[in-house]
Amino acid sequence: MSFLAGFLQENGAAILFYLFAGLSLAGAVGVVTWKSPMNGALSLLVTFLAVAALFLLRHAGFVGIVQIFVYGGGIMVLFLFVIMLVNLNRIEASERVWRQTPWALLLSLLFVGVVGVIARANWAGVSTAGSAERLRTFGGEVVGNPQALGQELFRHYLLPFEIASLFLLVAMIGAVVLGRRE
């Protein structure tokens, strides 16, 4: 009992990681395997949320929240909306296996394998003792992650931020121009 408590005490983070990692992978697999896009969208949602949780585990609170809002909120809704719009039953469920599938599978596996092998050579031994403090301090005093992030963003990355606004503008125009039915 106490052992279990102790175990959870020690390895809670790990357990949570594996849990959400599993969830995210499951969702991802679902995305690429479900016949119907609707199910795909839902399993994508699972992945999004699991990833958000993983962010929290890495002390990226604010980003996690944003992930939930933007992905879980915005993008997902967008997908569902479009799926509705194009009138689900009209989307013939595309068969998942075809000429290219084995090759695609092979390639993806190889990619993961090779990159993994190359990377592993370095990552093994990389210090895992990250410091959470620096992620929520700014200018010496601890201000919490969101403010620190904000400061960083507006001090050093103002320009990208502005460009991002331009980007969103473009996206809007694009949606309008392409989506508008004349």
Binding site: L44, F48, S108
Partner: protein, 110 residues
């Protein structure tokens, strides 16, 4: 299992996140190059972006600087924008072809 392995299993480090993100990336990649339904392809791309986000966040934690997280914000933004435009294109395609299967659009070749 040797204790060291046990340790490496239980104390979760950057490498675990990277491995995870790599897998996500791979799955997304597979989705993109295997599925032919534009919607699914879009979703798979989102997967890949998420994988990147995981990378960035993990690194930012390890390095203890916020750049990674900042970058993640942008990635999310871009993901949203791309999704919007992608879906717009999809709508246009659907209007023209009454389908969202990319292999329906195969007139240009050679």
């Amino acid at each position: 299992m040797k204790p060291s392995d046990l340790a490496s299993v239980w104390n979760v480090g950057t490498e675990h996140y990277l491995a995870l993100s790599l897998m996500l990336f791979g799955i997304g990649l597979f989705g993109v190059i295997n599925r032919r339904n534009l919607i699914t392809i879009l979703m798979s791309i989102e997967l890949m972006l998420n994988a990147v986000n995981l990378n960035l966040v993990a690194f930012s934690y390890q390095r203890g600087d916020l750049l990674g997280q900042v970058f993640t914000m942008f990635t999310i933004t871009v993901a949203a924008g791309e999704a919007a435009v992608g879906l717009g294109i999809l709508l246009a395609m659907f209007r023209l072809r009454q389908t969202t299967r990319v292999d329906a659009a195969q007139e240009l070749e050679g």
